[in-house]
């Protein structure tokens, strides 16, 4: 009796889960893919080889790579500080690092304009020295850095904690310099987590829309990224163009998902251990 009821409950939950995901996620995303190729391959190729799209793609990659490099260097530095360092205000630093996740992208853009816009004291001073930040690439990089700031840090911190510092101290005692210790001991131990964080950061950077929309000024062929291109094409009733670009972004996101899935068990020991029984020791082969 109770057995039958729990089986019914199990099926009900299974169906609710699958239906919810289908209605909210799978069917909408699938529909975009289907509509993109509904008119054949030629319109897609045309859209993806148009000057505006090519320029947008190039700019997106440049901005994302700059942001990822900056956040990786910053991420490693801060993760080492948070795990190994001892200083006043550590909790505050940790809280500030997580702050960007709670700030609206539009507010990020506004914040940067208020400081680095040409009417602001700081922005005006910098602009008189020949560097334009807002409505130009530096501002877009800053916005992207802001929104993806915590990703690398939060990917490495647990692994650094797990790893401990015995080996680093051993290397140090044996006369290794700090740089050698970092390169030969610390970096190899965090490499999977680092790769995981970098992929997350890259995916976020390539897909950022709101913050970039505010600081870029959306100048077609100049400060337009792929996400802005999608929006512009859609509003211009050029749906094939919008759908084609959106499909490219969705494919990038799916690849990023798969890559992070592969990286995660190797990068996160604690999780890997927990997953061992489920995945029958797959991470041992790594």
């Amino acid at each position: 009796m109770s057995e039958a009821r729990s089986t019914a409950a199990k099926w009900a939950m299974r169906i609710v889960t699958v239906a919810y995901l289908a209605v909210l996620l799978v069917i909408p995303v699938g529909l975009i893919g289907w509509r993109t190729f509904a008119g054949g391959l030629q319109p897609v190729i045309d859209a993806l080889t148009s000057d505006d799209f090519v320029h947008a793609l190039r700019l997106t990659v440049v901005v994302a790579v700059c942001a990822v490099v900056l956040n990786t260097v910053f991420g490693i530095t801060v993760a080492l500080l948070l795990v190994r360092g001892r200083f006043w205000g550590k909790r505050l630093l940790s809280a500030v690092i997580d702050l960007p996740l709670a700030v609206s992208p539009v507010v990020v853009g506004l914040a940067l304009i208020l400081v680095y816009g040409s009417h602001a004291p700081a922005g005006g001073w910098i602009e008189r020295h020949g560097v334009q930040i807002i409505f130009a690439t530096p501002g877009m990089v800053a916005a992207t850095v802001f929104v993806s700031l915590p990703l690398v840090v939060r990917a490495i911190v647990p692994v650094l904690q797990e790893f401990g510092e015995e080996q680093e101290q051993a290397a140090h005692t044996l006369g290794a310099s700090r740089w050698t210790t970092f390169r030969r001991i610390t970096l190899p131990s965090i490499r999977w987590a680092l790769a995981y964080g970098i992929v997350l950061c890259l995916a976020r950077a390539l897909g950022e829309y709101g913050a970039v929309a505010v600081v870029s000024g959306r100048i077609v062929g100049q400060t337009q990224t792929v996400t802005l291109y999608v929006e512009q094409e859609y509003n211009n009733f050029d749906q094939p163009g919008a759908y084609a670009a959106a499909t490219v972004l969705a494919l990038i996101a799916i690849v990023a998902l798969l890559v992070t899935k592969l990286l995660r068990p190797g990068g996160r020991r604690a999780d890997a251990e927990r997953l061992t029984e489920m995945q029958s020791g797959r991470e041992e082969q790594r």
Binding site: M13, L25, P105
Partner: protein
């Protein structure tokens, strides 16, 4: 797995010292060099954070409140801004509650159930984190907009806004509840059963009681994400002032009209709400940690 925001809760021990930490640190001959190096990297990190995060955010709050409380209040309570703030908060609350329920159900299925294709379901959960928000909006508009093949047209309505928010906040509760459920000792449930508790009592007193903190922090994170959301709601809401505009969309409009002061005022409200929720979550988490 793209579980950036949701894993934050679990990774919080970053801030507390590890028991394993060696007490020898900083002693010996090499002590001064690492200390200089650490100070230098700390300085650089703080400078980087200040230039990109804290000074700009400070400027938002400063610009939003500098004209005094009266002007601040006027900027925040113009009909369109006030309606947008109400929609944002009420919508985010609704979304948080739906997630509280659906997220827990999905996490339960992922942990306790087993069926073919489950790995795909698990992978799909993170899709909203990976998918650019503008694509999320476009994708929903394709199925639930004017060209809907199902003839369900909710474009430019509040329903559409809620739908978009549900899409982007899907992973939060799932990814906070899932690890807790995975570690939950099933012996406890079996003990309750064998002592004569009904399945419902067992679920309520054992499972739900243990999951509650994770469910609440997941819902809290979903709420902060929902009040901040812009990209997915911008297309699908159709930008109708007083009707479908959320706060972020109104702020965007103000910036476009060069009205940075009132944009900053509305932003300040959003920041304050987010901060409040984050502090509440932090308190919740510490209480849970202490109880364990």
């Amino acid at each position: 797995m793209i579980s950036t925001d949701s894993t934050r809760v679990r990774e919080q021990p970053a801030t507390t010292p590890l028991p394993r930490r060696s007490p020898r640190r900083g002693g010996g001959s090499g002590a001064s060099r690492p200390r200089v190096g650490a100070a230098l990297s700390l300085g650089t990190a703080v400078l980087y954070l200040s230039l990109i995060v804290t000074i700009p955010l400070g400027a938002v709050v400063f610009d939003g409140t500098r004209q005094g409380p009266h002007d601040f209040w006027t900027a925040v309570t113009t009909p369109d801004a006030w309606a947008a703030l109400k929609l944002t908060v009420v919508g985010a609350l609704l979304v948080a509650v739906v997630n509280l329920f659906m997220g827990t159900v999905i996490a339960w299925v992922l942990v306790r159930d087993r069926f073919p294709g489950m790995a795909v379901v698990d992978l799909l959960i993170d899709l909203p984190f990976a998918l650019p928000t503008i694509v999320a909006g476009l994708v929903l508009l394709a199925l639930y907009g004017t060209t809907s093949p199902l003839h369900i047209d909710v474009a430019f309505t509040r329903t559409a806004v809620i739908l978009a928010l549900l899409f982007v906040t899907l992973p939060f509760v799932v990814r906070t509840v899932q690890p807790v459920l995975l570690e939950l000792d099933r012996d406890m449930e079996q003990a309750a059963y064998s002592l004569g508790a009904s399945p419902w009592t067992t679920f309520r007193r054992i499972v739900l009681a243990n999951l509650a903190p994770a469910m609440l922090s997941g819902a809290g994170l979903a709420f902060t994400r929902a009040i901040a959301e812009y990209g997915s709601t911008s297309l699908i809401s159709g930008n109708l002032p007083g009707k479908t505009q959320v706060a972020a969309v109104v702020i965007f409009g103000r910036i476009q009209n060069d009205d940075n002061a009132s944009a900053a005022a509305i932003s300040t409200v959003l920041l304050a709400i987010a901060l409040l929720v984050l502090v509440a979550l932090d308190i919740l988490q510490r209480r849970t940690a202490r109880r364990e």
